[in-house]
Amino acid sequence: MPHREIDQLAARIPDGASLALPPDNSLSPGALARALVRRGARGLRLIGVPVSGYATDLLIGAGCVASVMTSAVTLGEAGTAPRFTAAVKAGTIEVIDATCPAIHTALQAAEKGAPFMPLRGVLGSDLVAHRPDWKVIQNPFADGSDPILLVPALQPDFAAFHAVCADSQGNIYVGRRRELATIAHAAKCSLVTVERMVPGNLLEDELMAPGCINGVYIDSVAVAERGTWPVGLLDEYPLDAAHFREYATLARTDAGFATYLERFVHIDARVAA
């Protein structure tokens, strides 16, 4: 039963939940995304923080996704995200376009318990007209005309990401990828996969503590070795560029994507890695 622990973690995310995911350069939970495909998740409302990559494209392709709020979906050097692009053309998912700092701002508002936060820029972009949840007000502190965008707080049902390690108190280490702390603070429930468990209390270690997220925000931890694969993990292992190219090629067609699922999702992806 090689997937047992991670499949249990995936089972905690119900159909229809909103789920915030980091981008491919920031501890994206590849193994958990594959577990969600295996469990046949449906109707997920994904949030790219602030952009989306492999995990989002995979979940869209497998029919798990109702909507995606993001600033972009891309496979980076491997090109555009084929299943996302196909789904937009087919009209099978709703796309709620944002811009990176608006995603960060909305999550920071939730992190602070504020109902909204202002954001400079953006005005004049057609994004504004397509985001009825955003508001433009006159800056109450300005003397002259000064319109400014207000973005409402965004509290995802779930945040999911991978971390280097966890201790028995649920504290996790993500190093310099501090945006994951913002997601964990903002979300109602944070599910984390880790490479390994470590003894002791990470927060008592002055050298490790700055890269930690306090266990108060973390609801469940599951060990998943190479849990970001095919994405890399800090200085531990690099992005698997060959696999990204293979995914990008296979995912261009429905049949190719089915082959990908068969070879890398429904069998043990970690062996394949």
């Binding site: 981008p23 350069n25 920031s26 602030p50 952009v51 993001t70 600033s71 972009a72 979906v73 891309t74 980076g76 050097e77 555009t80 995200a81 996302f84 692009t85 937009v88 053309k89 009209g91 796309v95 376009d97 944002a98 811009t99 990176c100 700092p101 608006a102 960060h104 920071q108 954001l119 400079r120 820029g121 953006v122 005005l123 004049g124 972009s125 057609d126 994004l127 397509h130 002259g144 005309s145 000064d146 319109p147 400014i148 310099r176 990828r177 501090r178 945006e179 994951l180 702390a181 913002t182 890399g232 800090l234 200085d235 690099p238 992005l239 560029a241």
Partner: protein, 250 residues
């Protein structure tokens, strides 16, 4: 033999160093931007004091607050120059990175706006870069505006496009319209006009885009490539036939 990418890199480096533009003490470069990144490294290796923040370096990226730090830096006014592209760019320097047809891109869907709607307005200088120069990309009017080239009076904005560099030419932007500034080898006033979907000004005599100097080429093929290898291995292989492994040994 000068590679076309080398000429684009050198052209962008000259725009960065334009003495009439606001100073570029701190330049940020987004993901998947090897040519702008190389131009910044060239400026730095030429000995100019400039701080570079390169996103998406696999190791040693400059940020310790996560990806929001780039946007916070720009909000603070600490980024002097940024690079943007666009699946469509129009004559008012509007960018479309979202799609064509009905929103959100039922005819063609592009990846999305990234941070463009913010960075374009918070950065004093933006250099637009798009290698493909066709009427499909350089359009009269973008299908939708991801990031506006200009803003109404009273809207907070620190700057706009300084220039647009394509595979065919360099345009300057004066805040209202583009002017053709130089032609890459093989291009003429007519060929650029035919490939461009928007109106622009052009002087009677259009200079050629200068070749990189020997010194610039030596820097590009040596120390600039060394810096690029980790982030852009495929680009370095394609343009300079250098692999990561040699680079790390160098």
């Amino acid at each position: 033999m000068i590679a076309p990418q080398e000429r684009l890199i050198a052209a962008i480096a000259r725009l960065i160093l334009d003495p009439t533009a606001p100073p570029a003490r701190h330049i940020a470069v987004g993901a998947a931007s090897p040519i702008p990144a190389a131009a910044c490294w060239l400026v730095k290796k030429l000995g100019h004091p400039v701080r570079l923040s390169l996103l998406h370096r696999p190791s040693g990226n400059p940020f310790t607050e996560g990806t929001r730090e780039l946007f916070d830096l720009a909000g603070q006014g600490r980024i002097d120059l940024f690079f943007l592209g666009g699946a469509q760019i129009d004559g008012a320097a509007n960018l479309n990175m979202i799609g064509t047809g009905a929103w959100p891109g039922t005819t063609a869907r592009f990846p999305g706006s990234f941070g463009s709607a913010f960075m374009y307005m918070m950065t004093p200088r933006t250099i637009l870069f798009r290698e493909e120069h066709t009427p499909r990309v350089l359009v009269d009017k973008v299908d939708c505006i991801s990031a506006p080239g200009t803003s109404e009076q009273g809207v907070f904005r620190r700057g706009t496009a300084q220039a647009l560099v394509t595979g065919r030419c360099v345009f300057h932007f004066d805040g209202t319209r583009f002017t053709l500034a130089s032609l890459h080898p093989g291009e003429t006033a007519e060929s650029v006009r035919a490939a461009t979907g928007f109106e622009y000004a052009a002087p009677a005599e259009i200079p050629a885009t200068p070749d990189p100097t020997e010194a610039e080429l030596a820097l590009l093929r040596g120390p600039v490539c060394d810096e690029m290898l980790e982030t852009y291995p495929e680009f370095c292989q394609r343009v300079w036939q250098r692999s990561s492994f040699e680079g790390q040994a160098a």
